[in-house]
């Protein structure tokens, strides 16, 4: 059951930890976050060289033919360092949609490039004023394959070579640079994620073969487990950084970590993380064994992870006192990332509704 910890996966985790320590420590993340670059191209190349974007893509499409659990391990580690990258958008959302489709041509055209990290995919679902996600009515219209409408909160939309767009009658592939496509990078709360608005005005789209609802349902499961894995990693960083500080910051003659007002919050965060970690493992197991439990396990993991991360990040700021609220401290980077993760890809209530649906209550 602790699938996401076999020896290969442990080795992968260690490699990524080393990559983060050498190339993408939080100081570097901050630099990238404050630049105009959506991510560090050098770090993305190294992640790609390790084969990470193709971990869950079958060999026939140029991937490593590993399991989703392998990719989750990578996401968890990258989550500890808030490493900005298009991995989630491209390898989870876009590749996930392609893999769930029946579109052999689209798969062989895009998956090998995504696996290599040479092309980036994005998934355009969200629309203004809608807190739901996945399979749901869309206001984007399609006339003869020409798409019109607006999508918001598109992760890595501005860097994408191909967008998978949800329209009222199905999913479409839209290539970047096609006529009638305007992609604008938004200023986002989360400095480590690049988020775009995509306006389609008679843009050329190619319909993706397969049952759109089923594809999006699958993608929602993938997104939920993947985000939960990322968040599990990020929570450990919130706890570790705060614990370290609680040992060196003195007040009234003692390290603040000796006081229960501080240590108990950290103990609670650790306990909550233990539950998040356990549910990510079980969801990853379900996903990898293609168990019928996958939708429930994935939704349950996300229902726990996103609010737990918000709490851990908030407490990280609070337990650092004044310093925790400064721009110079990393706490707000985590807090921004946590809040964003809680509201994007379906907010907390949507996730609870989805879990209730999948449980049949």
């Amino acid at each position: 059951m602790t699938l996401i910890d076999n020896s290969d996966q442990q080795a992968l985790a260690e490699t990524i930890q080393k990559l983060i320590a050498d190339r993408s420590p939080l100081s570097k993340v901050r630099e990238v976050a404050l630049s105009d670059d959506p991510y560090d191209a050098d770090v993305w190349r190294r992640i790609s060289d390790l084969g990470v974007p193709g971990l869950a893509i079958p060999e026939e499409f140029g991937g490593a033919g590993g399991t989703w659990a392998d990719l989750l391990v990578a996401l968890r580690e990258l989550g500890t360092g808030l490493v900005p990258s298009p991995l989630f958008a491209s390898s989870v959302l876009a590749a996930g949609a392609l893999l769930a489709s029946d579109d052999a041509e689209a798969k062989s055209q895009w998956l090998p490039k995504i696996a290599e990290g040479a092309a980036i995919g994005a998934l355009a679902i969200s629309e203004t004023g809608d807190a739901t996600w996945g399979s749901r009515p869309s206001s984007v219209t399609a006339n003869d394959g020409k798409l019109s409408g607006t999508k918001v909160a598109v992760l890595n939309g501005a860097q994408a070579d191909v967008l998978v767009v949800q329209a009222s009658d199905g999913l479409y592939l839209v290539e970047a640079g096609a006529a009638g496509v305007t992609v604008t990078t938004e200023e986002s709360l989360d400095l480590t994620r690049s988020i775009a608005t995509v306006v389609l005005d008679g843009a050329e789209g190619r319909k993706l073969a397969g049952d759109a609802d089923a594809i999006l349902d699958r993608v929602t499961d993938l997104a939920n487990v993947a985000l939960a894995a990322e968040q599990s990693g990020a929570i450990t960083s919130c706890i570790n950084i705060t614990t370290e500080y609680a040992n060196i910051r003195y007040s009234f003659g003692l390290p603040i970590g000796a006081y229960q007002g501080v240590k108990h919050k950290l103990a609670d965060a650790y306990t909550e993380w233990s539950l998040v970690d356990a549910s990510v493992r079980s969801a990853s197991q379900a996903l990898t064994t293609e168990s019928d439990e996958t939708p429930v396990a994935a939704a349950a993991a996300r229902v726990l992870s996103s609010p737990a991360y918000v709490r851990a990040a908030k407490n990280m700021m609070l337990l650092h006192g004044g310093i925790g609220f400064t721009w110079e401290h990393d706490a707000h980077l985590f807090y921004r990332n946590a809040v964003t993760g809680n509201v994007l890809l379906g907010g907390p209530l949507f996730q609870q509704d989805r879990l209730a649906d999948k449980l049949g209550v």
Binding site: T243, A278, A297, L304, A356
Partner: protein, 395 residues
């Protein structure tokens, strides 16, 4: 035997011999004798002491089989309450620290339900701070020990045959250094058990008085004056027993029972109720999975250690949180101690007790923070060097 085969065997036996969860079992109150009969059959079927050595009546199997059994058992109401303490705490402690004689003498009988055990740690003047205990054991000329003092909140003492007791054997050394753990015969004439009625109106625990209760030299578990490390072993087992439990369909504050109840009452279409139920499910499952992570880690040689306290804390917090959730899900029926919601109402009332038993949430938080995360010791632990007889104690 592979775990799946074992699961099938367990399931077949349970179907034959145990009562499945039906959501309608408010009238299920097994007597002590029924419990003993059930435990005996369970042991005879090879389903007790699954991971324990064969020479002491166990099955000599692995954690996988244990997990398989627990998962299979989650859908049944097992009348094993009286044995939870004995098998969960004193037995593993004896297996770890006891003499060959003690193991042979007690473990098989504990497994078959012939011997019921209790844990005699807490005292009126200290539960969280177990090491402040004041019950004494003094050596007689013949080398036996005389126990005097009072224990309290002792679960199951009213029907226990034996107890694992902590007593002070040297008051002149710091409090952790002068404690010894003994096996005490609860039928000794010097033992008086008085039931204590609790918040739910039941009397599951007791105050227990010891008046010149003589125990032999070979009743010591571990070493004389090394009762504290023995207690730590037992408390660690206790947290693992209490926390990290599998998901049980029959738990009144669990997802299955609450979902069923919501349907019957007709609150299940309400979106707030549906969302609450979803969250109950997510938390309950995560706890079960956390238990598995710990067990599987242990299997791979990774000590559970103080993470058992995180499991205990998660379980206690779940009970308290699920009480609030149940109020929202079930609504006004919880105000009535009758009908289908009665079990939920009782569980809500019992929640704080379960959170306190086995060490309060605050104590578990201290343990997690200090031993898992490595935060500094609580300032209250500063008197570890003061001789016991010079310490300030509860009034």
């Amino acid at each position: 035997m592979p775990a799946e085969e074992f699961r099938a065997k367990a399931l077949a036996w349970l179907k034959e011999n145990a009562r499945p969860f039906s959501g309608d079992d408010g009238d299920y109150n097994p007597t002590l004798q029924e419990s003993k009969d059930f435990q005996k059959k369970l042991a005879e079927a090879g389903l007790a002491g699954i991971t324990w050595p064969k020479e002491y009546g166990g099955q000599g199997l692995g954690e996988d089989e244990l997990i398989a059994f627990n998962e299979a058992a989650a859908d049944f109401l097992l009348p094993v309450g009286p044995f939870v303490i004995g098998l969960g705490m004193p037995a593993p402690t004896i297996l770890e620290l006891g003499t060959e004689e003690q193991k042979k003498r007690h473990i098989p009988k504990m497994l078959t339900g012939e011997e019921v055990w209790c844990q005699l740690f807490s005292e009126p003047n200290g539960g969280s701070d177990v090491a402040s205990l004041q019950t004494t054991a003094t050596r007689t000329e013949s080398g036996n020990w005389l126990i005097n003092g009072q224990k309290v909140w002792t679960s199951g003492a009213q029907f226990s045959d034996f107890g694992a007791i902590l007593a002070r054997t040297d008051p002149t050394v710091p409090r952790h250094a002068g404690i010894t753990m003994f096996i005490v015969d609860m039928h000794h004439p010097g033992v008086t058990v008085r039931p204590l009625v609790v918040a739910t109106g039941d009397a599951p625990f007791n105050e227990v008085y010891f008046d010149d209760v003589e125990v032999p030299a070979d009743a010591v578990i571990g070493e004389v004056n090394a009762g504290w490390p023995a207690a730590v072993v037992m408390l660690r087992n206790e947290r693992v027993t209490i926390g990290a439990k599998g998901r049980s369909r029959s738990a009144p504050l669990g997802f299955d029972a609450l979902a069923e109840l919501a349907k019957e009452i007709g609150t299940n279409e309400d979106s707030g109720v549906r969302r609450k139920l979803a969250t109950v499910y997510a938390r309950e499952m995560a706890m079960a999975h956390f238990g598995k992570v710990l067990h599987e880690g242990a299997l791979a040689g990774k000590e559970i250690g103080a993470r058992g306290s995180a499991a205990k804390l998660a379980g206690a917090e779940f009970g308290l949180w699920a009480s609030d959730a149940a109020e929202e899900i079930v609504g006004q029926d919880v105000a009535l101690l009758t009908g289908k919601a009665a079990k939920v109402a009782k569980s809500i009332l019992a929640g704080p007790g379960s959170a306190t038993a086995g060490g309060s949430n605050e104590i578990q938080r201290n343990i997690v923070a200090e031993r898992v995360l490595g935060l500094p010791k609580d300032p209250g632990a500063a008197d570890r060097k003061t001789p016991f007889n010079q310490l300030k104690l509860s009034k």
